[in-house]
């Protein structure tokens, strides 16, 4: 293959694939396993916080379970305990596959994984003990984050090393996304920790930097990894090439170009230079371009071949995730129009968007990728397809409840907050029923997280090895759709 951006993931033989997969298996399973553990942990704290918001007497008056610490633990552990290790696991596996080389320096990755988890443990305990920095997605105190940074450095070095070793051939689009993400994360995390946590700069400069980080963490780290998985797994499990390499290219470059600038839109009218908010608004609206380019590309790839979405767990989760991402970017664009934002800025809509992006897109896509990858690492299939289906429905109804509840409630709360004749008290009371609804969603998400963790334990400990692929529905007879292994 001579072109640089190929439309087919790879042309490895089954034996080569198996060799590469078994070389990554230890490290990838460590990252996936620990991410499942922290997912349950974070979801539990998310539930506690959601209950406290509507029923403030719940576990009230206990210092380490006070609402502020609980929600910061939930979001930070979700980001660094679940999302980041899941992303690293996916990136490591994809890198080996895309570069067509078995994993070397296995020990280095495993040690990095262990160190990382120690860092999360230290960080989570210190937030609960009252050492939070209170920066969004940067709440871990100054003594916990260097641990994460060292661990990440080992991983990034490995990934770049492997890219260097790769067998020649066209670079598949997933490789671009992994490459960008692996470079973005240390840049974001290092800068933000150095300037805000380790040795904080003067406070007036902080808000802009904090927003650059939190929007970059999603748009430049989690999104590219999730998309890399989608670009790899969709063609692999349908046997169809990616529809258009031009759309892939457009999506890739516009995502990076605009995604890095969106932060300012979250502080319109606030204490940062006006041009920063204007740039943020423009970039957030321009995010419609990657949303449409990527969404359309996936749609054209699957057009007429959507049937496997019914039975393939990987496809079902990933397609749902992509749908959420497109919706997320469109809502972010609408929400950043200054007239709309004046009303919605401090409302629950912010939380709805957080869940839609971090859970609806990233977690769902990561689940799909894990459902695809893990059987290839263990050499046997998921124990029970019914449980996968249950996981899917619990997760979808869970974040469906949260997102719909908080958007509706947020609209009402936001308009109450912005109208001069309405008292503050009313904004609390209007939001209440919607927060209860969202709380039910959080409970469902906790159930789905437990379900997912049990499945992962199941496939790792399975004695009676299941060789038949776990399909969530009957495959149609004489279906044309191939099933990838």
């Amino acid at each position: 293959m001579s072109n640089d951006l190929s439309n087919q993931p790879d042309i490895l033989t089954a034996a080569e694939r198996a060799q590469i997969d078994s070389s990554t298996s230890g490290a990838a399973l460590l990252f996936f396993g620990s991410s499942a553990f922290w997912l349950v942990f974070a979801s539990l704290f998310d539930v506690i916080g959601a209950i406290q918001l509507s029923y403030p007497c719940f576990l009230d008056g206990i210092s380490f379970l006070t609402y502020g610490r609980v929600v910061q633990t939930a979001t930070t552990v979700m980001a660094y305990g679940f999302a980041t290790p899941a992303a690293i696991g996916i990136a490591v596996w994809l890198t080996a596959r895309l570069c067509k080389v078995p994993l070397s320096h296995h020990r280095m990755l495993v040690s990095a994984g262990i160190v990382w988890n120690l860092g999360i443990l230290v960080g989570a305990c210190s937030i609960l003990a009252g050492n939070s920095t209170s920066f969004a997605l940067l709440s871990f105190p100054a003594f916990a984050t260097p641990i994460l940074f060292v661990s990440y450095a080992l991983i990034a070095i490995w990934v770049l090393f492997t890219f260097n070793e790769r067998k020649s051939g066209g670079l598949f689009v997933s490789a671009w996304f992994v490459f960008a993400a692996v470079l973005a994360f240390p840049w974001l995390f290092g800068t933000a920790n150095a300037l805000l946590v380790w040795n904080p700069v003067s406070a007036p400069a902080q808000p802009a930097i904090a927003l650059w980080f939190s929007s970059g963490f999603f748009n430049l780290w989690l999104v590219p990894v999730g998309l890399a998985a989608a670009f790899y797994i969709i063609p692999k499990s349908t046997g169809l090439p990616v529809a258009s390499s031009n759309l892939s290219l457009l999506g890739f470059w516009t995502l990076l170009l605009f995604g890095a600038w969106t932060g300012g839109a979250q502080i319109i009218g606030g204490p940062v230079p006006a041009w920063i908010t204007s740039a943020g608004v423009a970039a957030s609206i321009m995010m419609i371009v990657p949303a449409l380019a990527l969404g359309l590309n996936f749609h054209l790839t699957l057009d007429g071949h959507y049937a496997p979405v019914a039975w393939s767990p990987a496809l079902r989760f990933i397609v749902t995730g992509i749908g959420c991402l497109v919706t997320y970017w469109i809502l972010v664009a609408i929400n950043s129009i200054p007239g709309v934002n004046a009303m919605t800025q401090f409302s629950d809509i912010n939380r709805a968007l957080y869940y839609l992006g971090h859970f609806g897109f990233f977690a769902m896509t990561a689940f799909g990728a894990i459902y695809y990858i893990v059987p290839r690492l263990t050499g046997h299939e998921w124990p029970c397809a019914k449980f996968i289906s249950l996981h899917y429905w619990l997760a979808v109804t869970g974040f469906g409840f949260i997102v719909s509840g908080l958007i509706l409630g947020g609209l009402i709360q936001g308009s109450a907050l912005s109208q001069t004749i309405i008292t503050f008290r009313s904004s609390v009371e209007f939001a209440w029923p919607f927060r209860v609804f969202a709380m039910l969603g959080s409970l469902l998400i906790l159930a789905s997280a437990v379900n997912f963790a049990l499945l992962l334990i199941g496939i790792l400990l399975e004695t009676h090895k299941n060789q038949a692929p776990a399909f969530m529905a009957e495959r149609e007879e004489n279906s044309q759709e191939p099933v990838a292994v």
Binding site: T66, Y67, V71, F163, F179, P207, A208, I209, P271, V428
Partner: protein, 210 residues
Amino acid sequence: MNKLPNIFVGIFVIFGSAWLGLVNYPLKNLGNLQPVPDEATGGVLPPTVSGLAVAGHKVYAANGCVECHSQQVRFAPLTTDIDKELGKRQTVARDYLREKTAFPGILRVGQDLSNYGARAGEDINAIHRHLYEPRSVNPWSNMPSYCFLYNVVKIQGQPSNEAVTGLTGPCAPKPGYEVVPTEKAKALVAYLLSLNQSYPLPESPVATAK
């Protein structure tokens, strides 16, 4: 063909430009902001805050108050913040000079606190009572109780003159006991009272004629 270096350069340029704009620019411009002299008093604006308030800022961070309270008044007429009397003028970057960390906040589950010190009045006991048990002041409140910042102690001889008075209902101390604020609670209240942007700044004058 190997185009990885080209992708690398592209990524580097794109990330670098956003970094220059959103990290380096604020660092160089906002990071060097200084207080302005206050002609009326000979002091500076924003006024310097007490050591106790600085300690209270840490308590505010440690307990995640920022998850529910913002500290920014947005400009009129785009928003109604000033009409809603959250403050007399827009909050600007220089206002954060008093703090070690800026907490602009992203949610208003509770009120904006940028000017809490201006509206709180003199009654420190009332603020302690609210922090100790918000629902004893506003039954509809969903603010958590910060009673762990207080000690419930047996009254020995004379009641302490720092004790929180007027606590009623289930949170009231048993007869013979009193609720005494810890250093942290006192610092937090000092911090809350220091939140006051009624002074004018050149880039954000106080609007007259309302």
